[in-house]
Symmetry: C2
Subunit: 161 residues, 2 copies
């Protein structure tokens, strides 16, 4: 616990020192900045494909499914959204013809969101473009480092489930 507190002070001091220096960001600070960069890439790519980042994320989550569509409740968990937020998001994406709601035969309350062919197409293009840009950013990084980062982050992510 002392380690944590110490790191906080440390990172705070660094952040206050100089904005553009980039000399040895703390672990947390590096993650935060990286997160902003990723969000930025996400926003750029989404915009170029005429959807919002949230809509793009919805499409990408749907591609990960087995193709049978995902229920609204599951989706809200996957996207960390309350149900009313999701209703609106799916509404807007459905209006654009990228997704369609399919009523569940087994449970007449439920419905699943499925990608339309255009939605599938867009999702694949957006996903590919985002991955490509991130890989491109790291292109001149030693392959070893890239692998270690991916592995370490994967481990860290696994612990949060």
């Amino acid at each position: 616990m002392e380690t944590v507190t110490e790191s906080v002070t440390h990172a705070g001091a660094q952040a206050g020192a100089q904005a553009g220096a980039q000399a040895g960001l703390g672990f947390a600070a590096a993650l935060v900045r990286m997160s902003h960069l990723v969000q930025h890439v996400f926003a750029d790519v989404s915009r170029e494909h005429d959807v919002t980042p949230q809509q793009a994320q919805l499409l990408c989550v749907l591609t990960s499914g087995d193709g049978a569509g995902v229920g609204m409740t599951d989706l809200s968990r996957l996207l960390h959204l309350e149900k009313p937020s999701l209703t609106g998001l799916v509404d807007r994406v459905e209006r654009r013809g990228l997704v369609s709601r399919v009523r569940d035969d087994a449970d007449r309350r439920a419905c699943r969101a499925e990608l339309t062919p255009e939605g599938e197409d867009l999702a694949v293009r957006v996903h590919g473009e985002i991955v490509a840009r991130l890989e491109a950013l790291a292109a001149d990084l030693p392959g070893d480092d890239r692998l270690r980062v991916a592995d370490t982050l994967t481990t860290l992510l696994a612990r949060t489930r």
Copy 2:
């Protein structure tokens, strides 16, 4: 360049394969997931302090300054926001008494955004809490790995400036 293309296909195949497996995410996929996690932490902490993530980010950026405040144009660059978006954001944060606009003596068009004492206080608390949670998440990670990730990401971030 071939490496990039290959990685894309690779990551795409992995993403489609299984959602919860977590076995060896690609570099880009790991970054994207990490980004979502960070965003989530940001949102949680901000909410607990009764501000939005965007407002919290604004406060944090202002603490990094030398205390003399930051001009709106500079802020919009730092936050990747168009100027009208920033006007609104600063309006709302100013209404909450966390920031105040100070007119520039040298250029009477310009103004600088400065943290009020309460804003400074909140910024420090939010920043500390975010860093603490991220460090806590990585607490059971080997210190070596944590350092390497921080260094590699710092290098990567430096190249995008």
